[in-house]
């Protein structure tokens, strides 16, 4: 590191980051097969669509137009120009609703996964470093979380507190915290015995310093893997809850609630459910695939298989 920084044309921090990202992408492209590349591209498209939803959606997602109710997508008999993927029972544009739903689904899932990472990661770190009573307590909580099917807790919480955005995000955030906690604690216990930690302790580093400066950096890669795998679990949980009618209050739509609400119109207007259902399928497929790839490429043991 020092020889680069003291060289004649030392690259600035952002420049270095761009270069690192660029070479990361290059390596990724070189090392993967076409299926992984294709899913990565699809993932990128989904992210861009989610980010740009307010700008590219042709209609207000909640604007009703009773004159153009239940119109099929373009190309089918009775379609109405402008409504590319048709309209629902209140004349709302399916394409616009799907784009906004996608945005919400992805955003809520990311936030939930980040909360889970922060909560689970810090509890796991605390348990691993402190040991003793705090460790027993935290691991007891983990055992309880594993013992009770989370769908039940989610059902109860949302029924009691109502389907507001903060409630939903909190529920999704605590859904999988125990996975981060277990992995973090396990890694901490393993790292604690390593010579470099002993050396740090011998030279008088405080517990905090050891935790943040020496142990945390080594936790990044296992946590990134769980994070990715978790996003797809959270998307599944969110869309399942929304589908069951226990997500955000209408008219705000996520993909799951579009499928749930459209269920009643399936015989006469199947496009209302087909479009969001296929989108959910696509997202979970992409995220699962990326999670699998990430896990396989970081797990040395699996490489021999």
């Amino acid at each position: 590191m020092t020889d680069i920084a003291s060289g004649p044309a030392a690259p600035t921090m952002p420049e270095r980051m761009v270069r690192r990202i660029f070479s990361g992408v290059q390596n990724f492209w070189r090392d993967t097969n076409w299926i992984v590349r294709l899913t990565a591209l699809m993932g990128l498209v989904i992210l861009i669509l989610a980010l740009l939803a307010p700008f590219i959606a042709p209609f207000d997602p909640n604007a009703q137009s009773l004159l153009s109710r239940l119109k099929p997508p373009v190309g089918f008999e009775g379609a109405k120009a402008g409504y590319l993927l048709g309209t629902d029972e209140l004349g709302r544009d399916i394409l616009s609703r799907s784009l906004h739903g996608l945005r919400l689904t992805v955003g809520v899932a990311l936030l939930g996964a980040i909360i889970g990472l922060l909560v689970g990661g810090s509890l796991g770190l605390a348990a691993g470093i402190a040991g003793g009573l705090p460790d027993d307590f935290i691991m007891g909580l983990v055992d309880i979380q594993i013992a009770v099917p989370f769908t039940l807790i989610a059902l109860l919480t949302i029924a009691l507190l109502g389907g507001d955005l903060p409630v939903l995000i909190a529920v999704l955030g605590v859904a999988y915290w125990e996975q981060y906690a277990r992995i973090t604690r396990g890694e901490v216990l393993r790292l604690r015995e390593m010579p470099f930690i002993e050396a740090a302790r011998a030279s008088g580093a405080s517990g905090f310093r050891i935790a943040f400066k020496h142990i945390l950096p080594n936790l990044v890669s296992p946590l990134v893997v769980i994070f990715t795998v978790n996003i797809s679990n959270i998307i599944l949980l969110e869309s399942t809850l929304s589908f069951l009618g226990l997500g955000l209050r209408p008219p705000t739509a996520t993909l799951g609630s579009m499928v749930g609400m459209g269920r009643d119109y399936m015989p006469s207007a199947p496009w209302i459910v087909v479009v969001p259902a296929l989108l959910i399928l696509l997202i979970t497929f992409v995220v699962q695939m990326m999670g699998d790839w990430l896990r396989d490429s970081t797990d040395v043991r699996l490489k021999e298989r």
Partner: protein, 308 residues
């Protein structure tokens, strides 16, 4: 061994107590139940009467004590909507749920164990990769999306199968397929990995070296050992998975089991039903898991040594 079982039972009791307590405080903290029951059109005087009637004027600790006593007495309250005892409602729902679950688990075992073994034996040929692709798909498809696609295809488009309800054997097909698709995907992957682990063990080399036929090596030595791991995982996970899966599948196919009851109660805010339903399912899952744990601890000393 005895110590191991006691340890498990103590842990189970603590977990159950935490859940019972959590459910009680969650329902109390979210507002006064009277307002949910009666709605807005209630005068102040009547509201006070109802609060006294339901015993909600007592301190929270007194209420908690009463709640524990009533649970111990087997008195689980009365549905706010159906005006019937919660225990009666739950009893009606257990049968259909069990029917669905047992069918789904049977189908799962029949398909995923052979599929996983084949995927392990032929892991480098097209057969192995095809099986694993299907397993991946089954894992990536949310079960409600699969259910919707099945209903659209087989009920509305082809008109072969009923889209909801209970009755004829035909009613079983789509719910069982949806519920087992997810289990099959997971268990096939797991069987394959367990088989691969066993296949690389030294005792298999020994078995081959002493001249056993390949068939005997695989079925007698490899599969038997892999099955121990497979069944223990199935035992530990099935209860939790079943609870989560049947909530969705029962709701979609209006299969009047426990899962559908929970969702309906959550949407209608029928708290006594929801509260007891959640407790009953959670306790059932924990009981089953503890039993499986203890059984495996008895059967396989490695398990209890690793965990203590």
């Amino acid at each position: 061994m005895f110590e191991y079982a006691i340890n498990k039972i103590v842990r189970m009791t603590i977990t159950i107590m935490v859940i019972v307590t959590g459910v009680f405080f969650a329902t109390r903290l979210s507002g006064n139940a009277v307002d949910f029951i009666a709605g807005d059109g209630l005068g102040a005087e009547d509201r006070a009467k109802m609060i006294t009637y339901y015993g909600l004027d007592a301190t929270i600790w007194e209420q908690y004590w009463r709640y524990l006593r009533s649970l111990a007495d087997g008195n689980f309250g009365i549905s706010l909507i159906e005006r019937r005892p919660v225990s009666t409602i739950v009893m009606e729902r257990i049968g259909p749920s069990l029917q669905l679950l047992i069918s789904a688990i049977t189908v799962t075992l029949l398909i995923s164990v052979p599929a996983g073994v084949l995927a392990a034996l032929y892991r480098k040929s097209w057969l192995g990769s095809t099986i694993m692709s299907f397993a991946f798909l089954g894992y990536a498809i949310p079960n409600f999306v699969l259910a919707i696609l099945l209903i659209l295809t087989f009920s509305f488009w082809l008109g072969w199968l009923p889209s909801s309800g209970i009755g004829s054997p035909a009613h079983f097909i789509m719910p069982v397929v949806t519920l087992s698709a997810f289990y099959i995907a997971g268990l096939t992957r797991f069987t394959r990995n367990a088989m691969l682990d066993v296949l690389s063990q030294d005792y298999l080399r020994t078995a081959r070296a002493k001249g056993l036929g390949e068939e005997k090596v695989i079925f007698k030595h490899a599969l038997r050992n892999a099955l121990i791991t497979i069944l223990s995982v199935l035992g530990l996970q099935i209860a939790g998975l079943a609870a989560a899966g049947s909530v969705v599948v029962e709701t979609i196919f209006t299969w009047r089991g426990i899962g559908e009851m929970l969702v309906t109660a959550a949407i209608r805010r029928d708290y006594p039903v929801l509260q007891f339903g959640v407790l009953a399912v959670a306790v059932a899952v924990i009981l089953i898991n503890t039993l499986v744990d203890i059984t495996y601890g008895m059967a396989d000393p490695r398990v209890r040594l690793a965990k203590s």
